[in-house]
């Protein structure tokens, strides 16, 4: 379980995260929802230790991230993390070089699943291909958790379908997924839990099926309610 407790973060004088607390369970798909600038990306970066926090603490399965943590938690940002000059197979060999938990077999399956050409250079890939490639890098690691920042933003329809398939496939099974997206409607049925964040604060966090069951409301309805008030 990823436990975020009362996390504060400033950027210069602006408060980005203002006492954020929530949890993302292992084996569940948690979606972080919020308008742009609400602090979604900063929160993911903070969990991944890619940016310092100015208060509170974050624990993954009870321990702070630490340097060995990166074998247990993968992150798929919304842009490339490899030099543009690299080819896909070189990037995969790079991952194999540095991550014990890298599963080359699964990575190759994903390559085929996403229809990626292994000798293609990262620099001249389309946004959709780049997103699928980044996802492949993340999923290629045997980790307990995987974080994704806007996996669908600005991506062509076919790539998007391929990516959503991943959410309901065995690749995700048993892992904790925490991702951010604006395509709520499409992703409604794929998420277990939704966490609404606004101006650096968690305003509501709920189990989607439970809300449908008790209040008969879709995630979109809850969002409208919450963001209106």
């Amino acid at each position: 379980m990823i436990k975020v407790e009362n996390v504060h973060k400033r950027y210069g004088l602006r408060k980005i995260l203002n006492g954020v607390s929530f949890t993302a369970e292992k084996g569940q798909i948690t979606c972080l929802i919020g308008i742009n600038g609400a602090g979604k990306s900063s929160l993911l970066h903070a969990i991944m230790g890619l940016t310092p926090i100015h208060g509170g603490h974050i624990a993954i399965d009870g321990q702070p991230l630490g340097t060995a943590g990166y074998e247990r938690i993968a992150f798929v940002p919304d842009h490339l993390t490899m030099p543009p000059g690299m080819r896909i197979n070189e990037a995969m060999r790079f991952m194999e070089d540095f991550y014990k938990g890298w599963n080359m077999a699964r990575a190759n399956d994903l390559l085929r699943f996403f229809g990626l050409e292994s000798t293609e250079r990262l620099g001249n890939m389309s946004k959709g291909t780049a997103a699928k490639f980044s996802l492949m890098l993340g999923l290629g690691q045997d980790t307990d958790y995987i974080l994704m920042d806007e996996p669908f933003s600005g991506i062509d329809l076919f790539s998007r379908e391929k990516i959503t398939e991943v959410f309901s496939s065995e690749l995700i099974e048993g892992r904790g997924v925490l991702f951010t997206t604006h395509e709520i409607a499409e992703m409604e049925r794929l998420m277990d839990k939704a966490v609404l964040i606004q101006d650096g604060k968690i305003i509501r966090s709920f189990d989607c099926e439970a809300v449908r069951y008790q209040e008969g409301k879709s995630v979109l309805d809850v969002m409208r309610e919450v963001y209106q008030s």
Binding site: P52, P77, L80, M82, P84, F94, Y99
Partner: protein
């Protein structure tokens, strides 16, 4: 450890074209300079036999030595070295900033590598050292070849032998980059390494605190430079009646410099581990 070596290899791999370019520039400029100087001198000799050639002390009348060639190609011989120093000097900054620049933001992947982040710092430092020392060695290994070229161009009866320290002393840039005694070599490159480390930490300061970081970084680098440069005078080196003896002062200064060096490295590691941001 293995991971550190792989990181080093990656850094070296990314510099390979620049290294090739530098080596090429050094070769072309220097060989060109030698050929032009020698051909001008030899043509003068072929044209009028009365030309008594080079008047330099201690060298028998009219004879040519490789040292003389190097001292006469001074400027064009030094240009490629200055280019290399400039390129490497800039690369000390670029080796870090390239990770944040452009579309790739490779810094994400670097920071997410399992294992201590200090390996990134050390790998980049090692890479810079490899570039510097391999270029210096390349220059050193090039000199005998250039001497061979000299021996091929100048007929045996006009040639006189020369010794390497003199050859190197003949060119100001060479003399600075390749000092005569090993202790001076260690001092010069030791200070160079210290400067690189301080700049690394200055960069990391900037990358950790962004806008205000630029100020922190600059202050840090300038502060260290002032301490390193003015400490001897501060301790009263050379003034009459100072409490400390000169060798004690020098010992103290070396100690302080090493301390600054270690502090920079440790401070850099801490910044990388906790304060750096993408």
């Amino acid at each position: 450890m293995k991971r550190y070596l792989k990181l080093v290899h990656m850094e070296v791999h990314r510099f390979r074209y620049l290294m090739l370019f530098l080596m090429g520039v050094i070769l072309i400029f220097q060989v060109g300079a030698i050929i032009s100087v020698l051909s001008r001198e030899l043509s003068q000799r072929w044209d009028d036999p009365t030309y008594n050639g080079v008047r330099s002390p201690f060298v028998p009348e009219g004879m040519l030595s490789f040292t003389w060639v190097i001292s006469n190609t001074n400027f064009w011989f030094a240009v490629p070295m200055l280019i290399s120093v400039a390129v490497i000097g800039l690369y000390v900054f670029f080796v870090w900033y390239r990770e944040w620049l452009g579309r790739s933001t490779f810094i994400y992947r670097l920071l997410m590598l399992p294992g201590a982040r200090c390996q990134i710092y050390l790998a980049k430092l090692t890479a810079i050292l490899i570039f510097v020392f391999s270029l210096v060695s390349y220059q050193l290994l090039l000199l005998p070849l250039q001497k061979l070229l000299f021996q091929m161009m100048v007929p045996a009866e006009w040639r006189v032998d020369s010794y390497w320290p003199e050859v190197i002393h003949a060119n100001r840039a060479l003399d600075l980059l390749i000092p005569r005694n090993i202790e001076q070599f260690l001092s010069i490159y030791g200070l160079g390494i210290m400067a690189v480390l301080i700049i690394f930490t200055g960069i990391l300061l900037e990358r950790s605190y962004r806008r205000i970081g630029i100020l922190y970084g600059l202050l840090y680098v300038v502060g260290n430079a002032i301490v390193a440069l003015y400490l001897p005078d501060l301790l009263g080196l050379g003034l009459p009646g100072t409490y400390l003896y000169p060798d004690e002062i020098v010992g103290l200064v070396v100690g302080v410099c090493l301390l600054l060096l270690v502090l920079s490295v440790v401070f850099g590691f801490r910044l990388l581990a906790n304060k750096i941001t993408v």
